[in-house]
């Protein structure tokens, strides 16, 4: 059937108030934030979207921790961990409720203010097409494309591994400040405080990966910047997807090499998925 015929068929379907066909026989309409490319790619790998799911958690940070501390602000790190675990738990529950086996393309929003940390997770629950049961398997911030590639190589996502560290950059003593005037020299107290905080954030993320029995963590994203209203408070956040190997060994993907001959600016013709042109 040509693409034009399919367009006419689609319009006919809109004209008739009939219900859905195919795999969406559920009474509840499916909701998904996947693009059509992602939907198609997942389908080719045997998966389909079920529902838009979310998890969000605010945890409080007591007053005074930023002002009076030097070095790491333990309360903020603890609030981050609590919020991350709580939000991930909600996401998992929402996925299970929707009948999904995993959540893909999770967008992670982290906000830190003086008195709270909030973590917001939004993604699409997916499940295997035609599978009898849908046991919960994973939460991941990987895209559908990364998920398909990863699983094809024998690796499976498990969950979001997260870690954070918040540090109040220490000040120099008056004597140090005076003796260091007019020189370009290292400020070891700052180097060490920031270095330590980065390592701690990564360490916590790796520990959270180990807790979910991951072999490793892929697509690690490191964020750093000011936290709260003080310029001396710096945050380090590390987030990635914990993965484990399900097959005996890593399976090579062996991609084919292609030389594209088209020029993007001249690609006006709509491409059919199955044959050239679609006419």
């Amino acid at each position: 059937m040509t693409l034009r015929d399919q367009v006419r068929q689609a319009v006919t379907a809109v004209a008739s108030p009939t219900t859905a066909k195919g795999h969406t026989g559920s009474a509840r309409g499916t909701t998904s934030d996947l693009t059509i490319d992602e939907t198609l790619l997942l389908h080719s790998a045997g998966w389909e979207p079920v529902d838009l799911v979310y998890g969000i958690s605010w945890w409080s940070i007591p007053w005074g921790v930023w002002q009076w501390a030097t070095g790491e602000v333990q309360e903020a790190s603890a609030a981050f961990t609590g919020a991350a675990e709580h939000a991930a738990k909600q996401l998992r529950q929402a996925c299970e409720q929707a009948g999904g086996s995993g959540v893909l393309g999770v967008e992670v929003g982290v906000r830190v203010s003086s008195h709270h940390v909030s973590i917001e997770l939004t993604g699409t629950a997916v499940r295997r097409i035609d599978a009898e049961s849908h046991r919960f398997e994973f939460v991941s911030d990987l895209s559908a494309r990364d998920f398909v590639l990863l699983t094809r190589a024998g690796w499976w996502p498990l969950g979001l591994a997260t870690g954070a560290s918040f540090v109040v950059a220490p000040r120099r003593t008056a004597r140090e400040w005076a003796s260091q005037q007019g020189q370009n020299i290292e400020l070891p107290n700052l180097t060490q405080a920031l270095y330590l905080a980065r390592e701690r954030a990564m360490e916590r993320m790796q520990r959270s990966g180990a807790t979910m029995k991951a072999d490793g963590i892929v697509a690690v994203k490191l964020r750093e910047g000011r936290a709260s209203s003080s310029v001396r408070v710096i945050q380090f956040v590390a987030i990635g997807t914990g993965v484990h190997l399900r097959t005996a060994a890593h399976r090579p993907i062996a991609p084919e090499m292609v030389v594209p001959l088209d020029e993007v600016v001249r690609a006006f013709d709509v491409k059919s998925l199955r044959s050239a042109g679609g006419e």
Partner: protein, 315 residues
């Protein structure tokens, strides 16, 4: 506000749509793709609605007073219309009388008046855009763009919708043209995958959180009564802010359920969820979630696609 009848398009719009060259808001590539699919662009269509606007219901002269007491929640506050299934949750102070300023009660509740005004504004803009498409005898509107922006004066918002009306020759006439945020190659893939675009759908959910004492302490970072424990109303530093978490979760599930109510057994494709928060006062929040996407209907089964072959581009 009454929906604008079809014959009330601005007279310039009627003139524009009946004469002159046709117009299209599509990019050149999307335009070419639509022609390939047998969709002929017939006109750039648009709809607008300017609304008097407040996020807080403060301009109405009534405000959202705390004075009535939460025991009469069902009795209603000024500006909060009641609807079956409206989200309401209450919290009560565990401390007993502390002071006149102590927040004895707290509540989360759905701002149905705000949701309804948003739905009215958005709906009017989309409806007027569709009316223009009808005027052109269009089968559908592709590449819809909708925005909301404040106008002058601070208390007005304009809802704007635009898209390109297309005609599919030999296709059945649709009383209401279909509409979609997609166009071009992505629309072609959608249709080839077996999904027919039905309409753009969007909803805004709003939840107000009036913090009770515990929430207030938590958001202010206060530590209170740690010696008698959280069970008796102690607030000790790091912990979940339950009332806010409930409000956040409610805002999202309301958005999803409101959209689902517009879907029937169809599918919401390419959804985007946007969240906004307004702090009204210390310990008081209003949380809004906007959820948009294209409602699509499966008209044929997914033909199994071959496994996608991984490639490395040599450019």
């Amino acid at each position: 506000m009454q929906p604008t009848p079809e014959d009330e398009l601005p007279e310039a719009a009627t003139r524009r749509l009946t004469g002159g060259a046709w117009s299209s808001g599509l990019s050149v590539a999307d335009f070419a793709s639509c022609l390939d699919m047998g969709m002929q662009p017939v006109g750039y269509v648009q709809g607008y609605a300017v609304m008097q606007w407040s996020w807080y219901m403060a301009t109405g002269g009534f405000g959202m007073g705390m004075g009535r007491g939460f025991g009469t929640m069902g009795g209603g506050w000024a500006g909060t219309p009641q609807r079956r299934g409206q989200y309401v949750e209450q919290w009560q102070c565990p401390h007993g009388f502390v002071s006149a300023e102590h927040r004895m009660y707290g509540a989360n509740y759905e701002l149905t008046w705000l949701e309804e005004s948003w739905a009215t504004g958005w709906g009017l803009a989309i409806e007027r855009m569709i009316d223009e498409a009808k005027e052109l005898g269009a089968t559908g509107v592709v590449g819809v763009v909708d925005t909301m922006r404040p106008l002058v004066g601070g208390s007005t918002e304009e809802f704007r919708a635009s898209g390109t009306a297309v005609v599919v020759p030999d296709a059945p006439h649709l009383a209401t043209p279909f509409s979609t945020y997609l166009s071009g190659q992505r629309l072609a893939k959608l249709i080839e995958a077996g999904f027919a675009p039905v309409s753009v759908v969007a909803t805004m959910s709003a939840v107000r959180m009036l913090g009770y004492c515990i929430t207030h302490y938590q958001l202010a970072g206060s530590t209170v009564g740690t010696w008698y424990g959280s069970g008796a109303g102690g607030v000790s530093g790091v912990g979940p802010v339950d009332q806010v978490n409930r409000a956040e979760a409610a805002a999202r599930s309301l958005a999803r359920e409101h959209v689902r109510a517009q879907l029937g057994s169809d599918i919401l494709h390419g959804a985007t969820l946007q969240r906004a928060e307004r702090e009204i006062g210390e310990g008081d929040l209003s949380i809004q979630c906007t959820l948009k996407g294209t409602r699509v209907r499966r008209f044929k089964d997914f033909d199994p696609l071959p496994d996608a072959a991984p490639v490395v581009r040599l450019t």
